[in-house]
């Protein structure tokens, strides 16, 4: 579905992403892992056409740069790690914006199909009861779920997530990841996400790209990438001992 070849992103003299290539296929949940400053978020911003980059990113053979904004949005949906709304829009209005890329013209109202997609997205994320609530009154978890509902309403083929459960409590983390896993079960879909929590990456990811200082260190199936050798080298510590030690407290 999505193919990134030799992606390089520079901010002035500083190279943030250095010659990274990978492929995302249908049904895959590809985890981008690595320490802070590895270039994970910048890489997904490049895929979302948010930063200039060298290299080529293709959607089924077509260069993403040649796509119109709405065309891209119908294929790729992005959920940022931090979302906030400045005005008192209702949850339904924010979720409804996800249908922007399907608008027929500026005078057209919301079509039946759009309404169905919004209803479905609200149902999937358990926000039906809050559909008329002001976004300003929602908790952090509810806000993140509202934006996830917006991406679901957008109905993209690939979901790009930048630390989707960051700053959320355990309950919301579990909810968000379960929702995304259910979304991925439908045919023709794939997920690409940045996750700091390696346990979550192993639990939900089918594949992984491990990055360090802008470069790709390893990629492939999650089990093959998340090995002690790879992780210890990238993080500069005994990762398994640290995470195992934390886990042992609960056993």
């Amino acid at each position: 579905m999505l193919k990134a070849e030799h992606i390089t992103v520079r901010y002035g003299e500083h190279t943030v992403v250095d010659d990274v290539s990978f492929q995302l296929r249908e049904g895959q949940w590809l985890m981008l892992a690595g320490p802070n400053g590895a270039g994970k978020s910048t890489l997904i911003e490049a895929i979302a056409q948010g930063v200039p980059y060298a290299g080529r990113i293709e959607w089924e053979g077509q260069d993403l740069r040649s796509m119109k904004s709405a065309q891209l949005a119908r294929r790729i949906g992005v959920l940022s790690q931090k979302n906030a709304v400045g005005y008192a829009y209702s949850v339904e209005e924010v979720v409804g914006l996800g249908r922007y890329a399907y608008r027929q013209g500026f005078l057209s109202g919301r079509r039946g199909e759009d309404r169905d997609c919004v209803d479905q997205a609200l149902e999937m994320t358990g926000l039906q009861d809050l559909r008329r609530a002001s976004m300003l009154t929602l908790s952090g978890g509810e806000t993140q779920r509202a934006f996830l509902a917006q991406v679901f309403a957008q109905d993209p083929r690939v979901l790009i997530l930048d630390e989707p459960a960051n700053h959320l409590d355990l309950n919301y983390q579990q909810q968000i990841f379960s929702l995304i896993r259910d979304w991925l079960k439908r045919p023709g879909r794939a997920v690409l996400s940045v996750v700091h929590d390696l346990s979550l990456a192993r639990r939900y990811g089918t594949h992984a790209v491990l990055m360090d200082r802008g470069r790709c260190v390893a990629q492939g199936e999650t089990e093959a990438v998340m090995t002690p050798d790879n992780l210890n080298g990238v993080y500069g510590m005994d990762v398994a001992a640290w995470l195992g030690g934390l886990l042992s407290q609960w056993q």
């Binding site: 949005a73 400045g86 829009y89 914006l97 609530a133 300003l136």
Partner: protein, 347 residues
């Protein structure tokens, strides 16, 4: 689930717009009737109706005051109020900044400088003596907006509210001093400093009303056409890009349109503060933040507010006429503090 959290104003309310239209028409009639020479409602209606249909106007009606003094002024004030308020609402949505407005971020001052320079230098367009002033005001308004946003971006890449307002305030002070300089040395060519800094609709004519009407029709249509996109920007610029808005193109079109409309208004009435800042907030309280409802509501609210402000400026200390900016600033500042306090408290 939670009634306290539910929004009262979810749906488009045609009744609200019917009331606003009626309110605007009533206010316009009131503004024609009230003044240093009181005119009855029936005289006003008769004079306007007969003039519209080319019928003779009875001798006992103060035709000159109604048709040549008050009506063009009322039309210009209503159109300028609607334009400034619409621009404020669009700017607040586009920049996701409740403090954004032509006067707070320096666009109006830039337009005023353009108009003053054009007048002082005698810049005209063939066939339209006033066109040169208006075009220069529009160009300066856009240049100011680009300059302020570029400076704010250089200072803070997130284009934070505080950065834009801070630079806007400094820019306004800087431009005001340049306007003052130009007016001092070219007073015989340009209008008074008071006009440019506080605004006035004294002596406006039908030609200016037509210009304002045309500018509002063209620019207003463009702004209204982008109401979906403004909603997306108001939620967040990154979010707008992610849902498929062509962010750069739409932003540029809206900024050019806003600058053009503000430029036309300032070249005719000078800088009138607070209309574009406060009226969108009041409209938002009435119909919610969705720009499909907010923009038309802001348009009506701005027109009504400026008509009443002009009426107060003309009549409060008659025969002395205040600058309209004195009234809008006095009322607007107080209203803004109340709205901001209530919003913060509710938020």
């Amino acid at each position: 689930m939670n009634d306290a959290r539910s929004l009262r104003r979810e749906r488009f309310a045609p009744v609200t717009y019917a009331l606003l239209t009626a309110g605007l028409l009533l206010t316009m009639v009131l503004c024609v009737c009230v003044g240093s020479v009181p005119i009855t409602l029936s005289d006003t209606v008769t004079a306007v109706w007969n003039a519209l249909w080319g019928l003779p106007i009875p001798q006992n009606i103060a035709k000159n005051i109604i048709l040549n003094v008050r009506l063009p002024r009322v039309l210009c004030v209503a159109l300028a109020g609607a334009s400034l308020s619409l621009c404020g609402a669009a700017m607040q949505g586009l920049l996701r900044n409740p403090l954004a407005d032509g006067s707070t971020i320096g666009v109006s001052s830039g337009a005023a400088l353009g108009a003053v320079i054009a007048m002082a230098a005698g810049i005209t367009l063939p066939g339209s003596g006033y066109g040169g002033v208006m075009l220069t005001a529009m160009a300066f308004a856009f240049g100011s907006l680009v300059l302020i946003l570029s400076l704010a971006y250089a200072l803070d890449r997130s284009l934070a509210t505080n950065s834009i307002i801070l630079i806007g305030v400094i820019f306004t002070m800087f431009i005001s001093s340049i306007i003052s300089l130009v007016v001092t040395f070219a007073s015989e060519h340009t209008r008074s400093l008071n006009f440019w800094t506080l605004g006035s609709f004294s002596g406006v004519n039908y030609d200016q009303a037509k210009l304002l009407g045309l500018a509002l029709l063209v620019c207003g249509s463009v702004i209204l056409r982008y109401s979906h996109e403004l909603n997306a920007f108001a939620v967040g610029e990154d979010n707008a890009r992610h849902i498929g808005v062509n962010v750069k193109r739409v932003k540029l079109i809206i900024l050019i349109t806003i600058s053009a409309l503000i430029g036309v208004c300032v070249s005719i009435s000078g800088t009138v503060s607070f209309v574009g800042l406060v009226m969108p907030h009041i409209a938002r309280m009435l119909v919610g933040p969705n720009h499909r409802r907010l923009l038309p509501a802001a348009l009506f609210a701005g027109a009504i507010f400026l008509l009443l402000a002009d009426l107060a400026a003309r009549t409060l200390f008659s025969p002395i006429e205040l600058s309209i900016g004195v009234v809008t600033s006095l009322v607007g500042a107080v209203a803004f503090v109340i709205i901001f306090y209530r919003t913060r408290k509710a938020g």
